[in-house]
Subunit: 307 residues, 2 copies
Amino acid sequence: MIVAPDPARPGEGLSMAADPALRAPGVALVGAEGTRVLDGLRAGLAAAFGGSEDHFLAPPVIARAVSERAGYPNAFPHLLGTVHGTEDDGPTDLVLTSAACHHVYPLLAGTVLGGERQFGVEAVCFRAEATAETGRLRSFRMYEVVRFGAPEEVQRWRDRALESAVEWVGGLGLTVEVVAANDPFFGRPGRLLAAVQRSEELKWELLAPVDDRQVQAIASANGHKDHFGAAFGLALADGSPAHSACVAFGLDRVVLALRHRHGERTGDWPAHVRQALALGPRPERTGGAASTSRGAQRAGEKGRTSR
Amino acid sequence: MIVAPDPARPGEGLSMAADPALRAPGVALVGAEGTRVLDGLRAGLAAAFGGSEDHFLAPPVIARAVSERAGYPNAFPHLLGTVHGTEDDGPTDLVLTSAACHHVYPLLAGTVLGGERQFGVEAVCFRAEATAETGRLRSFRMYEVVRFGAPEEVQRWRDRALESAVEWVGGLGLTVEVVAANDPFFGRPGRLLAAVQRSEELKWELLAPVDDRQVQAIASANGHKDHFGAAFGLALADGSPAHSACVAFGLDRVVLALRHRHGERTGDWPAHVRQALALGPRPERTGGAASTSRGAQRAGEKGRTSR
């Protein structure tokens, strides 16, 4: 299950309908407190990865032609969501956004890169996940920093970006395990792609606990080689396809990891974490607003746990 | 057409791919400057309509069962987007979010209201619009304030909310026309619903120019009577279904109206508008960053209009 819904406390955590008939697994609302944390994460990421004017808020749908050009429907047909009309209307020209960075490549398609370029982009993404354990969302916010350039430079940037990502989540009090990983490519040819991705160490994931039993990737650093450069006709000055890499953050999972680490209520989070997220000083605790969070319980505070 | 894309100025306005094959009408990216304006609008709306802890960021997809309970597929089959898998997978349990407020009703379903309740909710919504003139987006941000209570109270709130909405956009320098309107209900029975909606003045729209030829509704104030209360089993203390009303803002259209009114670049916007949107003081203008905006030209400024 995602998160126990509690309509009496709608401002917190991820919320879902109490009536199971009205729920959708892996699809949830974020309350006021979670929204403030998301805002803090965005500001922190912009600072950590060079606040750029080349930043986009991208829509949750995208031209099917872009997704196909990116190779997504072939590689991940089991995860793709497509947009149809009602009943027998058939498919539209749109699919759901699978990765935020897909929105950036078309902006550069058919151009020659003057030098290196870097973009930030955020989108609500969709993946048709078959399970719904904590953090396994079908609809989730992805924040990506995408870098384009020559092969060696992009490789170096990816390695530095991985370090920066570990450092940044560390500053939020999260300890992560960094592992070589692969995307969940489809079928038998997919297993080959996955093996290549692993052996060439193209994908690194940052793993963190999101509940007592569950560890999830909260971020990843990915080398694309010339995949997107070739697919979208993005060339270097010498005519060869540009290389690209990205570092991607699953913002909802970062929020879950923070709640698991520091407690359900942001009021209980350590001062340096609150500061890093621009949440202001820790609020004064009163009897009526007593915390029930793990953090507060760990600290042995005496506040009533009534609610 | 939506907005001329300019990959050289990706930070501004709404952006789309230069290659028409990679575009989707009514689907666009928001750049860094637009994102800051959106943040300012959210903060302003929270202040204008009572910053509430009961505020949600809702996903762009929703359980089909909720959309059906809300009556949307029947009333607006031509606008609904449904989520399918790849090829012959058939429909999933999800549809695209048609209105942000649809996410709130399930949280209260089957409950008895102690008194009045008010929620804020924002979602990226989808409507399968057949045309794509300025502001006619298929994917767009909707910010709603939803109020539940007894019939007369909700009616009074709706009337006050309409006034507050006009006042709030007025504070941003926008002059709007307020007109009785109806939703685009489907088919012949829909024309009857639309006529009732108009004659009972259930829907008021705030109209503003978004380009030189186009006027769009940038907000609306809507009375739902007991439609959602009855559909979701939301009762008043006496057992009768709760009434509801909402005021809804099309954030992307508000941004378009602001750009049309004050100029393309927020740096040229009047100080009081920048202040209302927390955009900081007007930046110093230098030769290189000379503005080409209508606002600056109107003011007869001497900055070079190169680029």
